[in-house]
Subunit: 300 residues, 2 copies
């Protein structure tokens, strides 16, 4: 039944996160024909708001089939959508979509149900499926998805075989907003000398032992060139070093915001000792739209 309604024409893809929401009208060729982005993340809304919000999105983008991914499927979202267990592929995820009605589906997240390494994702699985469907990542690969809760993902035979989450983005935000380092962390992290110094310092396996230097240097009137860059370099550097150890040195494909991809690419090149090497990178929004298209094709 669902297949008869969707999978052929344009549709709406919604990446509905904790604090932000991005929605696109996706054409048959996968191109974004229209988009809207706002701060109506799930925590900005009450439980009864979601149906009305979805109607408003259709008023803006067209009365079309809609796929929603991200935290909208969590226990704080519209309708809790159970995780699919690893290893998971596009078919398993498509089959577990929670259909609110025949035109409106919530994409499930993916869970790694390992007692020694429990982990979950919601939204990234759509980007991963999109990157695979676009032919931008091979079926056996290591992926890195930078963000608030960055993911390192192992793909085996086109399936999400396992993954680990790094709270790098959230820690960076916590330090910049609430810690004693906040005054020295104003502004955006950039891939410059400060970032590179942070990546170097992260090599000692104890990035947390270097954070306070940002404050101490300021007090000793020898301020860091770039506080946010240094802290970002420390945290991303530690993450990248651990990720590369786990992947056996295999360079990951990056899927994320272009500015974050750039920071991760710089850290990876530095850790690999090859400043010219640039890991393949894909825009996370494009990957999300491609992932929704691929999931709908499972019903065609």
């Amino acid at each position: 039944m669902i297949g008869s309604l969707i999978g052929k024409g344009p549709f709406i893809a919604v990446d509905w996160g904790t604090t932000n929401r991005r929605a696109w009208r996706v054409g048959p060729d996968g191109v974004a024909e229209a988009e809207c982005e706002d701060a109506c993340g799930i925590t900005a809304l009450a439980p009864g708001d979601f149906a009305g919000q979805v109607a408003m999105l259709r008023e803006t983008l067209g009365d079309l089939p809609m796929l929603l991914g991200g935290m909208i499927g969590s226990n704080r979202g519209w309708r809790e959508t159970p995780y699919v267990a690893c290893p998971a592929d596009a078919r398993a995820i498509a089959e577990a979509i929670m259909w609110i009605d025949p035109q409106t589906g919530i994409i499930p997240g993916v869970a790694q149900e390992r007692r020694d390494a429990p982990d979950v994702m919601r939204g990234e699985e759509v980007q991963i499926i999109g990157a695979l469907a676009s032919g931008l990542v091979p079926e056996n690969a290591t992926l890195c998805l930078p963000g608030t809760h960055a993911k390192w993902v192992r793909l085996c035979g086109g399936r999400i075989a396992g993954f680990s989450t790094w709270m790098t983005g959230e820690l960076f935000a916590l330090l910049g907003e609430h810690s004693i380092l906040a005054p020295q962390m104003e502004g955006k992290a950039r891939a410059g000398a400060g970032f590179a110094a942070g990546v170097v310092a992260s090599a000692e396996c104890d990035p947390l032992g270097h954070l306070f230097a940002v404050r101490a240097a300021h007090l000793l009137a020898a301020p860091m060139i770039d506080g946010p860059g240094y802290v970002s370099g420390l945290l991303i550097g530690a993450e990248v070093r651990a990720g590369l150890r786990t992947s056996g040195g295999e360079v990951p494909h990056l899927i994320g915001r272009p500015d974050l991809n750039k920071l991760y690419a710089a850290a990876i090149a530095q850790v690999q000792g090859n400043p010219a090497a640039s890991p393949p990178a894909m825009d996370g929004n494009a990957a999300f739209r491609a992932g929704c298209s691929a999931l709908l094709r499972e019903f065609a």
Copy 2:
């Protein structure tokens, strides 16, 4: 002149921090004869409040000579008291006391003016001098002072030769108050099975890669036995491992709050693989009072 007024009878020692303040009347034998503790840290007071606050402390504890240590000497405190550079001993610190009047002195902090590892302390130097003066730590030793900004200190010939700061306590508080882990971090960290599991996980050199497991386990209905314990074990475990690498395995003397000393002692014993070994530990408040006594003796 100063020597004629102080160093012979009882005096008041004040550990005046960012958020808290502890003051004691210290008898000639170094014993606390009276004390008061409150939340009148420097950030709770306006610049003009300090003289009045000091007068009130004297009303409570006696009209006696007073030594003040901690953030009271910072640029946000009563009177900025320049740091003494490493290597620093009791004499150098005593000579740099900022005398507001002949009966009231602010103890300077200590700075490590290394471009590659800038660092500062304010208050811990008093505890270190106290531990030395009490004969509880040898002149050549590694010390660890747990806290919001934990310090690992190298003593050489009775001087503070160098040190490094770990924002372990602040990070733990940030994660417990502001992060996505907060709901799973309610309660106090204790040295139990959860803490031990965190110390184990910190062994992989990437404690930050294990934090999210606390959240994921909860979502997968397999909650950690002890969220605050696990996170504390991860952070303290990472700090202790790095500290022991730096000290060449030399077990540090602990100076701090008894509950924190206990957590650090548990982590050290676990990392050393010797559950029976307990590092020597000294109460931080007793060390502070002893340090003030020792500084005053420099004027006797």
